[in-house]
Amino acid sequence: MNIASTSTGGSMSAQVAQSFGRCAYFIIADTDNIKDFEPIQNSAASAAGGAGPQAAKIINEKGAKILLTSKVGPNAEGALKEYGIKAVEGISGKVKDAIEEYVNK
């Protein structure tokens, strides 16, 4: 299963980004082997409007079923729900630590 985290950069050592729709990167990792991860630039970050639903589309296309982030806006929340992606809010710190903690709990 794939897990996504918002990220300030393109590596596991970057921080979990506060915004979902307008974060710089998503880190997509396989929960069975988190060393197998893919950083993707968030093209929704510069959207004129609707960055939240757009970002949900992006991580859905990458097969994510879980999203780790600080806060999800109301539009993104609706879209994530529709895609069947579980949003875990209130996450901060290093992306690697956040994903490991979630996977190992």
Partner: protein
């Protein structure tokens, strides 16, 4: 028909005051229609008494979807510049607050699954003040995220015999202001001689430059030294049309919902002269 918009970047600089002053003074000589384009917070109607006529509700496009016809080709999702649509296997999500009502989804759908549906965005009112002056204002429905469609609607269908239309703009330099000044022959900018006043004036001037409409400046709460505004205006070649001084007496009447143009000596004559130039 002369169409004059009254705008400013900053809120509370005197747009409605100047709009009302101009409307009252000019309606002595012309047939005037004042349009309060601040549909989110209209206030001109508080100062003018008269019978009110409710117009038809303003409807704006809001797509409907037939999920049985829809093939999930996602063409509507792709065309949407504002990401207002999310198409999934189970359903189509539409975010009305992101939607700009452009009908792109309706146009691109190859199977006719998108319907031409509407929702009401607000109500328009006409208030006739006297033989020569009437006011139009609107109340936007709670929850509507964008004022532009209602502002566009409120400016339509002006009686042919109206000689001067005054558009009182909402504050700011964004979509609502741009919609208000659209098609205006002249934009009167209002600013007070303060650093905030100057800063927001600059932003508005930059936006109006792109629209390429004639503009001039009215200095409100004018001081002995207005150089903060006059230096900027002379640098960029912005006409200064009028100075309206601060008046406690005017403010007192205003707070009671009364506009008294005569409090400012010579203002009537200046405005009547000025309108000939605009």
């Amino acid at each position: 028909m002369k169409k004059i918009a009254v705008a400013s970047g900053k809120g509370g600089t005197g747009k409605s005051t100047v709009s009302l002053l101009f409307a009252l003074i000019l309606s002595e000589d012309y047939r005037v229609k004042l349009i309060d384009c601040d549909v989110e917070e209209p206030n001109c109607h508080l100062f003018l008494e008269g019978p009110v006529k409710k117009q038809e509700p303003v409807k704006i496009f809001s797509p409907g979807f037939d999920l049985n016809k829809c093939t999930r080709c996602k063409k509507c999702e792709e065309v949407c510049e504002f990401n207002a649509l999310v198409v999934t296997e189970k359903k189509i999500l539409h975010f009305p607050e992101l939607c700009h009502n452009c009908k792109g989804c309706l146009i691109v759908c190859p199977v006719g699954a998108v319907s031409d549906s509407y929702r009401v965005s607000g109500i328009v009112y006409d208030k006739s003040i006297d033989k020569k002056l009437s006011l139009r204002y609107a109340e936007q429905n709670i929850g509507e995220a964008k004022a532009s469609p209602l502002i566009e609607a409120i400016k339509k269908d002006i009686q042919k015999d109206v000689q001067i239309v005054i558009y009182d703009s909402p504050p700011g330099a964004g979509c609502s202001m741009v919609e208000t000044v659209n098609n205006a022959d002249y934009v009167i900018l209002i600013a007070e001689p303060t650093p905030f006043g100057l800063s927001d004036l600059k932003v508005t001037v930059e936006v109006l430059k792109k629209i390429n409409v004639r503009t001039g400046l009215v200095i409100n709460s004018s001081q002995k030294d207005n150089s903060i505004l006059t230096d900027y205006a002379s640098n960029i070649g912005l006409d200064i049309l009028l100075n309206i001084p601060y008046s406690k007496e005017f403010a007192r009447e205003y707070s009671r919902g009364i506009i008294v143009p005569d409090i400012f000596p010579g203002l009537k004559e200046s405005v009547k002269e000025l309108i000939k130039r605009l």
